[in-house]
């Protein structure tokens, strides 16, 4: 997909483009002034997600085609294959938009994390409120040299998670956050 500017409104044209804009990513520029620089997850996260979708689609494809073929229904097999491939492509599109929506910004006294396309969320977490920080890397993430950083506060509802950070950046963020958290710690 060619990169396009997601902030400007597309011309009133095709219905599909308008619909795409409707649930599209626009920066939360109002939240912290237009100057906020959002750091993004690594571009390898996109590749990882694409692989995940691809492998899943492939597995479905094998099952979905093998069964009609075993019953000697070639037309059905072709139809199913086309449907699964199409679904995979659309999923990939949506997953890509989700990946692009992640962003985080480190401010002087709090961390901002944003995510989501349909349901957009922006979390503001003061460094002093962080109880602990998790850095996790699953087997697939490790293959791509990625890690997920998750911040925990005393409130169960505040879920700030940043997936797909390069391992070095994840370690830096963890150290940075924990040292800032220590210096600004506040009681309950």
């Amino acid at each position: 997909m060619p990169p396009r500017d997601l902030t400007t409104r597309p011309q009133r044209g095709s219905v599909s483009r308008r619909w795409l804009h409707w649930c599209d990513v626009a920066p939360f520029e109002e939240a912290d002034g237009p100057g906020t620089q959002w750091a993004r997850p690594s571009s390898r996260l996109r590749t990882l997600r694409r692989w995940e979708v691809g492998v899943l689609t492939g597995a479905l494809l094998i099952v979905g085609v093998a069964i009609p073929l075993a019953l000697a229904a070639v037309a059905v097999a072709v139809g199913v294959a086309v449907a699964i491939l199409l679904a995979g492509l659309i999923t990939d599109l949506f997953v890509g938009r989700r990946v692009r929506a992640w962003g985080y910004a480190e401010h002087r006294e709090d961390l901002m994390v944003r995510r989501g396309v349909m349901f957009r969320r922006l979390s503001v977490i003061p460094y002093g409120r962080m109880q602990y920080i998790d850095v996790t890397a699953g087997p697939f993430e490790r293959m791509f040299g990625l890690a997920t950083v998750q911040m925990h506060t005393a409130a169960a509802a505040s879920d700030a998670k940043i997936p797909g950070l390069p391992a070095s950046e994840a370690a830096r963020l963890r150290d940075q956050l924990s040292s800032l958290g220590e210096s600004q710690a506040a009681g309950l």
Binding site: W22, C23, F28, E30, A31, D32, G33, E109, D110, M118, F119, R120, R121, L122, S123, V124, I125, P126, G128, R129, T153, A154, A155, A156, A157, S158, A160, A186, L188
Partner: protein
Amino acid sequence: MTGEPAGPASTGGTGLPEGTWHRLHPLSPVVRAGRGALAILVVLVLSTLGSGGNSGDPYRLAAIGVALVAGIISWLVTRWRVEDGVLRIESGLLRRTSQRFPLSQVQAIDTVRPGLARVLGLAELRLRMAGAKGSSGRLAYLTNPQAESLRAQLLALAHGVDQGAPAPPERRLLTVPTGQLVASLLLTGPGLVIEALVVGLLILTAIKPSAAGAVIGGGAASLLGGVGALWQRFNGDFRLTVAEAPDGLRLRSGLVETSAETIPRGRVQALRMTEPLLWRLFGWCRIEVDLAGKATSGRQNKSSRHAARALLPVGSHQQAAWLLDRVIPGAPQSLQRPPPRVRWKSPLRYRNLSWGLNDGYAVTTSGRVRRATDWVALSKVQSIREVQGPVQRRLKLVSIHLDTAGRNVHAVLRDPDRADGARILAALPEQCRAARARDRRVPHEQPPATGAAPIEQAVAE
């Protein structure tokens, strides 16, 4: 075992000697086993006696013996002590566990007395901590004077006050009348369901008495369940008394199982006021208080997860306003309404939506059928979230969530205009920071001693 068991003689005085190990009361296993074990015991004994004294039931006797020995062992291996501002509880025979509770982090201290314990003059002490895993210290059971003095001592330690000081006097703020409590319970969810069932049964009996018997038989179980839930609520809120003491708010209640809870100053995370639909006919409301941490462990787990601790189980708006002024002085009074286009998104909720903010507190109202009002101290806010769903985006609205460490109340500024929301979100982190800084400077500020006159006269403990 190196510790010396605490005799009642050594603890009857002003306080418990610090640094020595103490045991729980010897009757603790019996009370902890509770009604169930008692009933089984009675049945077993009766059936053993009833079987003609042929003593042909060694198994039953053995079962009783094993239970007794297990209880005695668990009592023998459990001990506790207070040292350096830390309460330590050790328990377990094969798997020793040693728990440490730093008293400076106690969120609340409860004294709970189930019916059986009251008969025996015992009480359980519960320390509520802020941990997310429902960690709470339980000392079950101590004698009444022991529990009282230990509670005062722990609270004094938690506040860093000299523990030799006499128990500070408290001011009773209000007590809930029983008649009003019963009426209020009959006008809410479970009460209404039971009433409908009973009325239905009566009508059925009048029309066709022969069929009624079968229906009563079938519906008895569910009816009993409902009555049980209602009873629990009634018992929990029975003659709830709110008192104000220098070390915090004290809540006392209960008919059969009584509990006394002390919430130290500055531990209230949030408050919620609810007004069920039918209560509004009488202008009644209920105020609940939210603390950090999860529900306490043990038998109370279920009920306390469902219903937060009520500060005012039922009362008039006037009482509520007065109480709120005592607990959270300076809450915002003027509320803002969301734009009228919110009607398209939440037609039922729209009339209840509003919010207010000042330097100290945020207040939000919401609710489709029953109205709920939430107060959150900005100094307690853990994180702020802005959420925008697809419908909200279409209508240019956002929602702003204020997360606290409490477990029940979660204030949401629903559906302000996007520009308003952005302004609020931009200002909130700084406001919260300022509130936190203020809180640190004046650690646990006492509310003004004068001003609002208590509804009932002050009573000394």
